[in-house]
């Protein structure tokens, strides 16, 4: 008797499993039969990696500048040649009248002007003293700051060249070693960020929209009145995105190691494990969003503006967290991707092990668990 019951239970379990797999397959079809969605899913990470890797840099190169050369003597020509030789600057124009400076700035392309005073060479020779004025377009404060620094360094270099006798007198040399990223590639900073961004995007946005879509079109009603467990309906919606995210992650890692020559110094298992936790967090969030909205447009707006922007802002890969006002710094702590970003940087680039990142892992897991519980609790079986 007992045995029969057990067998029956086993059968029911098997049938349920079969149903579940059927549902998951249905969801996979949904995704794969829509090439435009696939474009977003796979085209985006690739495009982002390429752009961040090759096109986007905060480094300042080839800035167009104007030199206002009142001196027009040998010394000033040598200085101009030296400026032109650096990769940071491109001398667009040499002018003789300071009234042209303002119009050059206003028409856009010029970011800096260097003003060399008359009698530059003779002042330098006879009085040992002269002045140079740097005018920067500070509407972009960062660029202005860096440009000022670069230009000052060039002028100081020039000054040292002019007077070789002071060399060797109490000279301090600084030996600089760049750790972890000796070539100062932007990719080292961006790739972990792009990973977090893509995983969140795929999971939160796609999950919430695809669930709400069924609500909007009315097919959700059909699913809810079926004998299949409603929670499993939702879970089966999340499963394809879970796997797609892992595939995406692999694509990103593959691209960054082959195209960008980035190292994976730490354990790759740990990397995938951390990613899986982030994906679960994101899926739970997507689920939560789908619970509180009824239209795809609203779901998308919440996911995009409420989720994507904070990720972009508060993860720390685009904007330095330590510069933010304190309340915002506090907010960054509740953004899951911030912790993920720290983990990926430590594991992938610094090659650290679980001993150094267990705290971050714990925080991330806590978030995942909390969001999963809340979203399942909030899930409504009944339509209002």
């Amino acid at each position: 008797m007992f045995f029969l019951n057990w067998q029956e239970g086993q059968n029911v379990k098997q049938i349920k499993m079969k149903q579940f797999i059927t549902f998951v397959r249905k969801e996979f079809y949904h995704v794969f039969r829509d090439p435009k969605t696939l474009l977003l899913l796979f085209g985006m990470p690739i495009a982002q990696i390429v752009l961040f890797g090759f096109a986007l840099t905060n480094e300042i190169k080839n800035t167009h500048i104007v030199v206002c050369d009142y001196a027009n003597d040998n010394a000033s020509h040598r200085l101009i040649n030296k400026i032109e030789a650096s990769k940071n600057f491109e001398v667009a124009k040499i002018i003789m009248d300071h009234r042209e400076i303002e119009s050059a700035f206003k028409s856009g392309k010029i970011k800096m002007t260097i003003v060399i005073p008359p009698n530059f060479e003779s002042d330098l020779k006879h009085f040992n003293k002269t002045q140079i004025e740097i005018i920067a377009d500070a509407s972009d404060p960062n660029t202005a700051n860096s440009l000022n620094n670069y230009a000052s360094n060039i002028i100081m270099d020039y000054q040292n060249e002019v007077m070789p006798e002071s060399k060797g007198f109490m000279q301090i040399n600084t030996q600089i070693r760049m750790f972890y990223n000796p070539e100062l590639k932007g990719a080292y900073n961006f790739v972990p960020g792009v990973m977090a961004l893509v995983l969140l995007l795929v999971c939160v946005l796609m999950t919430s929209v695809s669930i709400v879509r069924e609500k909007e079109l009315g097919t959700m009603e059909i699913l809810l009145v079926s004998p299949f467990n409603p929670i499993l309906v939702i879970v089966s919606k999340a499963v394809p995105y879970f796997f797609l995210s892992l595939v995406n992650l692999s694509v990103i890692l593959l691209l960054s190691t082959t195209l960008m020559h980035m190292p994976i110094n730490g354990s790759i298992v740990l990397l995938y494990f951390a990613s899986a936790i982030l994906i679960l967090t994101a899926l739970a969030l997507g689920l939560l969003i789908s619970n509180v909205t009824n239209s795809q447009q609203a779901a998308m707006l919440i996911s995009l503006m409420g989720m994507l922007m904070p990720t972009l802002l508060f993860t720390g890969f685009m904007f330095p967290i330590e510069n933010m006002p304190l309340p915002l710094q506090f907010i960054t702590n509740i953004v899951p991707s911030k912790w993920y970003y720290i983990i990926v940087k430590s594991v992938m680039i610094k090659g650290l092990g679980i001993a150094s990142v267990w705290k971050e892992m714990l925080i991330l897991s806590g978030m995942a668990l909390f969001l999963l519980v809340v979203s399942v609790k909030k899930f409504k079986i009944r339509l209002e």
Binding site: A55, A138, S139, D140, P141, M178, M309
Partner: protein, 373 residues
């Protein structure tokens, strides 16, 4: 004309009756505009530094003092051994380690040279290069000072000196939000234009109500105008709130140039952007598709617009993409007119280019829009 008025009143009613979306359309950009410039501060000023001082001389202390006094660096720890500091370094608590060797002062005086060691956490390449440049400059200054001191005491002749004075035009105090707010405002207006327009039309397709419109004698261009005008108005509205509400009240940004000029450009820009939204809608049949396409385009537009990273530094092929991006031009115009006070003569070319974009996208979209399946 009467048909158009009917269509418009239908669209506006539809928008105003969906309060949750309407609220989001207005609230989200404002919140973002308030938060983003505060967060998006690239200026590198809080570099955490560890100093390992093996010398403990008056020179080494003076150097440390000068570094901290510069305002760019925050002293994280002042350790006795390198390995101690390296632990801080590994866990990201410090970004730079400066190691001052033993007998730093003595060797400098006796042998006329010495060497400092600087370890930089270079994962964030920008921060690393800016940080080490600042530090190198402080060390050079320190070097020049002690050279000068010795020369004075030993009565050597003074060396030639070029004084450098820097002026910061257009943003004297190097206020970062001045730069970011106009750019972010543009990106928000673009997002609203592209997403709202694309999704609104596709929703009619998905739900099936577009069929009802297709069987009426409404002309193609009237239907499209009916869809575009409401979002054009919303775009203007959001821009106004952003410029006057957030920009002026919160950040104190008063455009130097003509406001009429800004609005004229905005009007043209919105036509181009809505054309893109329309185009996306003609290529998709579900909202999810439209969203995917729109998102993909938006990502390219935002990243390649010079909003966050300078276009001048991009490689040639990337500059081409940036130049084919309408958002690039509006961001530049905003920054020029708002911060530098550029006039119409300065941005004539920009008007022509945007006109080209507007014509191109809208013509393509209208040609591609079909009333029949």
């Amino acid at each position: 004309m009467r048909t158009l008025i009917f269509l418009l009143s239908k669209e506006f009613r539809q928008i105003f009756r969906n309060t949750s979306i309407l609220r989001m359309i207005v609230a989200m950009p404002i919140i973002q505009l308030i938060v983003m410039p505060l967060a998006a501060d690239f200026e590198i000023k809080n570099i955490n530094i560890s100093i390992v001082d093996h010398d403990h001389s008056s020179y080494s202390k003076k150097l440390a003092d000068q570094i901290i006094a510069s305002g760019y660096f925050k002293l994280n720890d002042y350790s006795a051994t390198f390995s101690q500091s390296f632990e801080e370094f590994e866990t990201d608590r410090s970004d730079l380690i400066l190691e001052i060797p033993k007998n730093f002062e003595k060797d400098l005086v006796r042998e006329n040279k010495n060497r400092l060691f600087l370890a930089v956490n270079a994962i964030n390449g920008t921060k690393a290069s800016v940080g080490s440049t600042y530090l190198a400059r402080i060390i050079t200054n320190f070097n020049a000072n002690i050279q000068q001191e010795w020369r004075e005491t030993t009565r050597l002749s003074s060396s030639p000196n070029i004084e450098i004075s820097t002026l910061n035009w257009f943003n004297r105090l190097l206020n970062y939000p001045y730069f970011m707010v106009p750019g972010i405002l543009v990106s928000l207006v673009t997002m609203i234009g592209v997403y709202m327009c694309a999704l609104n039309i596709v929703k009619e397709k998905e739900v099936g109500t577009i069929e009802q419109i297709n069987v009426t004698p409404i002309k193609k261009h009237l239907f499209i105008l009916g869809k575009l005008i409401p979002f054009w108005v919303i775009g203007l509205f959001v821009f106004t709130i952003g410029l006057f509400g957030v920009g002026r009240l919160m950040y104190g940004i008063v455009p130097l140039g003509s406001i009429a000029l800004l609005y004229a450009y905005l009007g043209l820009f919105l036509v181009a952007v809505l054309g893109i939204g329309l185009l996306i809608s003609t290529y998709s049949s579900t909202q999810q598709q439209a969203m995917s396409l729109a998102f993909f385009c938006m990502m390219l537009f935002m990243l390649m617009s010079g909003l966050f990273t300078p276009i001048d530094s991009m490689p040639e092929w990337a500059k081409w993409i940036a130049n084919l991006n309408p958002v690039t031009y509006f961001i530049e115009v905003m920054r020029m007119v708002v911060l530098k006070g550029s006039g119409f003569a300065d941005i004539k070319m920009y008007f022509l280019i945007m006109l080209g974009f507007a014509l191109f996208f809208n013509t393509w979209a209208i040609l591609n829009y079909k009333k029949t399946n």
